[in-house]
């Protein structure tokens, strides 16, 4: 079986459209980010306490809110989590987190004894830790980008490194934008997903670059442009098959992995789609664009060889 017979699509000539489309997506994401005043961070980065409680019947949110208001948590954020029987209660950083948690849990089990509420998880993060984690996350993303640039620079040429990094920023920014549009929270596991997206998207990009490198050596008569095009076409079938198998498993995880992994697998899902797109429509076109500018600067007209 084969999805694609030998294709010969001129991807590069459509680069202006692709780049504009991506810039548009990124812009929309950034604008919503600005409107929302930055990403919605989870308590991992903000500090606070989050309690996940399961009820045996659909949870009466309004009554829970009232009951918690009576014991001094009027400001608590209460919402369903995954199913109508599950509730997530979030409170701000407290003087004594332990006490706050047990007050809430005790109140729930007293007032709603007939629904047998059980604590599924409690997470509290101090405000200082949140700040530290935020800077650690930023560092992690930057360091991995730097390492990748370095590796590609060594194995390929600098210009390929630029192409790969642009594609990676593109993937992360678009995923971030989608998170912002949907008002989904950035937690530690979402950052982990971002890093995975970086790794995955790169995987795709490198396969294309590798083909370009090989073709540059063997097809000396072709123009740089058509070599790039040909390389994308030659690896297209593989790109689609691998993305498909990966999407299949991530989709299974998204559907079946439970609430804890929901945002994580959602980020992966978006990232894989965007990453596949960017390895075809962004990474290589950026290489082409960069090379062209270089050529124009150095005054040569047609093509350049390694």
């Amino acid at each position: 079986m084969q999805f694609l017979k030998q294709t010969n699509i001129d991807f590069l000539s459509k680069r202006k459209i692709a780049i504009s489309f991506s810039l548009f997506l990124i812009a929309v994401g950034l604008i919503t980010l600005l409107i929302h005043g930055g990403p919605d961070y989870s308590i991992d980065f903000l500090g606070g306490t989050e309690i996940h409680v399961h009820f045996e019947k659909p949870a009466p949110i309004a009554e829970i809110r009232k009951a918690l208001g009576e014991v001094g948590f009027a400001k608590a954020e209460i919402k369903n989590f995954g199913s109508p029987n599950d509730v997530l209660i979030r409170i701000e950083v407290q003087q004594n987190n332990d006490q706050a948690t047990s007050t809430i849990l005790n109140t729930l089990s007293e007032k709603f004894a007939d629904m047998n509420p059980t604590m599924l998880s409690v997470e509290s993060v101090g405000p200082k830790i949140g700040k530290e984690l935020r800077s650690a996350a930023v560092w992690a993303v930057l360091v991995s980008l730097a390492l990748i640039l370095l590796y590609i620079w060594i194995r390929f040429e600098f210009v390929f490194g630029v192409g790969a990094i642009v594609a990676l920023f593109h993937d992360v920014l678009i995923t971030l934008g989608i998170f912002s549009i949907l008002r989904m929270e950035i937690s530690l596991s979402v950052v982990a997903a971002f890093l995975t997206i970086v790794g995955y998207s790169l995987n795709d990009t490198i396969v294309v670059f590798d083909r370009i490198r090989e073709n540059l050596k063997s097809m000396r008569r072709e123009s740089f442009f058509s070599i790039l095009n040909m390389s994308i076409n030659q690896s297209l079938s593989r790109t689609i098959v691998t993305s498909l198998t990966t999407l299949i498993v991530v989709f299974v995880l998204y559907i079946n992995g439970g609430e804890v992994l929901r945002t994580f697998s959602f980020a992966l899902l978006i990232g894989i789609i965007v990453g596949t797109y960017s390895s075809i429509f962004i990474a290589t076109p950026v290489v082409a664009e960069w090379e062209m500018r270089q050529l124009q600067k150095s005054g040569k007209t047609n093509r350049r060889r390694r």
Partner: protein, 679 residues
């Protein structure tokens, strides 16, 4: 050009055998755990003990004793003891398999992850000489400011004091000291508070009732505690927050010690006889040459419900180390090893000895004013771990609250045998000095044990009356041991204020739910990918599928071999790897298809496909590997688990997708010359 396929086949089979060998303990552990869990649940329904308490008692060998304390009804008690016996046997097996198995993270097992930090304002308040109203308002200011900035607490402290024109020596240290000197000293105090807490918690490590509590220092002012499998978080936290108790207790006379041991031995012997079960069931001939043999624990207690042959068979599973000849005559002595002047217990026998010491018949022969305690840390002797058994007066001579300072120095030249050796110094306040003078004066020649939370840290000899309140403890300490002892001595004196700053607790039901979902996701994911590959690449796809399944087995085996922890994100990483692992084969297959299109023979196309795709696969995997490494550095617990499975998955897939599939292809094409390849 054909490379040595036989060699490769052998390597592949060796790897498979290795993987099965690595995974077997994990498999058995699951079985034993399930059985054990069922019994614990059953026990919990009528035994007035919660799950954690049962686990804890089980781990330290006190289950029977606790049950006797908590159950009044005789019928119930008998039933409980019966279950306890089975649990003890299972626990032995679990202990044996646990270190060799894949560990489950606390998000799968349920459990809690806690980060504690020194409560610096509180520490400073307790260290200050004269905390007046102005000091309090200054400290409030410092606390408020430090919460707003990323600046180090001590820098904020210094800045705040300097702004107000107050020198630190007004409240801390000595008059002659400069601000910088005082800050240095306070920083040291903060770190010492962490070290003391760490030492106290490690001393309590077995009381948490979980298999592998990890207690580690993070930076200089934080402690990270991970308790996987715990269900009663409140109990764990109160255990962490409990003030340490340091006591000085006199050792009983060695003659009394051996007399009591003898009596206990008689009791145990009588009990075995009474139960009518001879130890002859155990195979004594087997280890005759070595002088030691392994005996089923149940034989020692004469309580076992197992009779005859099966007892002999069981002997190999749950064993203790005993001296063979001694065993028949002195069943209890045989568990103990005299080394030097001490009575030692091999780590493996520890639980059995605990159980014997807590049998009601044995308790009767122990004098009321005395107790047995173990050393807190094992000593290594001939490559084996031993705990020292002490017999002490129950009533402490003195508590740790009189200690003002404890430290380590190097022995001076005045006494030749301590020259150059680390010695521990100990200073007491005036009242402490008075008590210590009386105790040491009256007991010269006896040994005084330093007991932290019921465990003996050290038991030095009293050489002379010490009237000054300044004592030294000599011994064959290494520098490390001396430091630890000094920390123990300080721990009882100065409670270290620590506060939790991060807590992540996963309830057991959520953990179970995650495990179930993980298993289903892996199963569905694999089936879908396998079917897809078979449809898309036909026979070649099937070969890739074999590699994929092998890949999964290899990853699990590697996790078991490295003692890595499987977390929920780790499971996600595993699933993701399943999707990405076929990538290498997709690359190769697409390449082979291309080569076939150019008209190459099947064999040539396969050769070209593999060699051309190799570097692509390599480059693509290295970069993913790099991000996984960064992820490992950046993340805590669960996320690290993700990074680990991802990177192990990459390595394993390189092997299975390139080497294993190649051998299969080669074997197929070798037999006959194919003109068409199913791809």
């Amino acid at each position: 050009m054909r490379r040595n396929n036989l060699m490769r086949t052998i390597i592949i089979f060796a790897v498979i055998i290795w993987a099965v060998y690595q995974l077997y303990p994990t498999y058995s552990l699951w079985q034993y755990r399930q059985q054990s869990e069922k019994l614990v649940q059953e026990l919990q329904t009528f035994a007035n003990l919660n799950v954690d308490e049962i686990h804890e008692a089980l781990r330290v060998g006190l289950l029977e004793a606790r049950l006797r304390e908590s159950i009044q009804d005789q019928d119930k008690l008998n039933r409980a003891l019966n279950i306890a016996e089975k649990l003890n046997e299972l626990q032995e097996k679990i202990d044996e398999n646990e270190p060799k198995s894949i560990k489950q993270g606390l998000d799968l097992l349920g459990g809690t992850y806690l980060v504690y930090e020194v409560d610096l304002p509180e520490l400073l308040r307790s260290l200050s000489k004269n905390p007046d109203a102005r000091f309090d308002s200054l400290m409030t200011e410092v606390t408020r400011r430090s919460q707003q900035t990323d600046e180090d607490f001590f820098n904020v402290l210094l800045a705040t004091f300097q702004e107000k024109g107050i020198r630190l020596n007004r409240y801390f240290g000595r008059r002659v000291q400069t601000d910088d000197q005082i800050i240095d000293e306070l920083k040291k105090q903060a770190e010492d508070a962490v070290d003391r807490t760490l030492e106290v918690l490690r001393n309590r490590i077995d009381q948490f009732g979980v298999s592998e509590p990890t207690i580690t220092k993070q930076g200089s002012r934080r402690i990270v505690i991970e308790l996987a499998g715990i269900t009663d978080i409140k109990r764990a936290k109160s255990l962490i927050g409990k003030t340490a108790v340091l006591e000085f207790k006199l050792l009983k006379d060695p003659a009394v010690f051996s007399a009591v041991l003898k009596q206990i031995d008689d009791v145990v012997k009588k009990k075995i006889k009474a139960s009518g079960k001879a130890i002859t069931g155990a195979d004594t001939s087997k280890a005759a040459g070595t002088g030691t043999k392994e005996v089923g624990v149940s034989a020692l207690f004469g309580e076992s419900t197992v009779i005859g042959d099966s007892a002999a068979k069981k002997a190999n599973d749950t064993t203790v180390v005993v001296e063979e000849e001694l065993f028949e005559q002195n069943p209890f002595f045989s568990l103990l090893w005299p080394i030097g002047n001490e009575v030692m217990v091999p780590a493996k026998n520890l639980r059995a000895v605990q159980r014997i010491l807590n049998m009601p018949e044995v308790k009767n022969v122990i004098p009321d004013d005395a107790e047995f305690l173990f050393s807190s840390k094992p000593v290594i002797h001939d490559g084996q771990e031993f705990y020292t058994l002490f017999f002490l007066k129950k009533q402490p001579e003195m508590t740790g609250k009189y200690i003002t300072e404890a430290g380590v120095t190097i022995g001076s030249g005045s006494q030749s045998f301590t020259q150059g050796q680390p010695i521990v110094t100990l200073n007491m306040n005036r009242e402490g000095a008075r008590i210590f003078a009386r105790v040491t004066g009256a007991n010269v020649g006896k040994r005084l044990a330093i007991v932290l939370d019921g465990k003996v840290a050290s038991a030095p000899n009293i050489k002379d009356k010490i009237p000054s309140g300044n004592a030294i403890i000599e011994g064959n300490f290494s520098m490390e041991e001396a430091k630890e002892l000094a920390i123990v001595l300080r721990a009882g004196a100065l409670p270290a204020p620590v506060v939790p700053i991060e807590e992540r607790t996963i309830g057991p039901s959520l953990g179970r739910d995650s495990v179930r979902r993980g298993q289903i996701s892996i199963a569905i994911g694999i089936i879908l990918v396998v079917v897809f590959m078979m449809i898309y690449y036909r026979m070649s796809g099937l070969i890739a599928d074999i590699a994929l399944i092998l890949n999964l087995i290899l990853i699990m085996a590697a996790l078991a071999a490295f003692g890595a922890t499987l977390t929920l994100p780790g499971v996600a990483g595993l699933i993701l790897t399943m999707g990405m692992a076929v990538d290498a084969n997709v690359l190769i297959f697409e390449r082979i298809r291309e080569e076939l299109r150019t008209g190459k023979t099947v064999r040539a196309a396969i050769d070209a496909g593999y060699s051309r795709a190799f570097w692509t696969i390599f480059d693509a995997n290295v970069t993913t590997f790099l991000t996984a490494l960064v992820l490992y550095q950046f993340g805590t617990g669960p996320i690290r688990g993700f990074a680990v499975t991802l990177s192990v998955g990459i390595l394993a897939s390189m092997f299975t997708a390139i080497v294993v599939t190649r051998v299969i292809f080669d074997t197929i094409t070798q037999k006959r010359t194919l003109t068409k390849l199913s791809i």
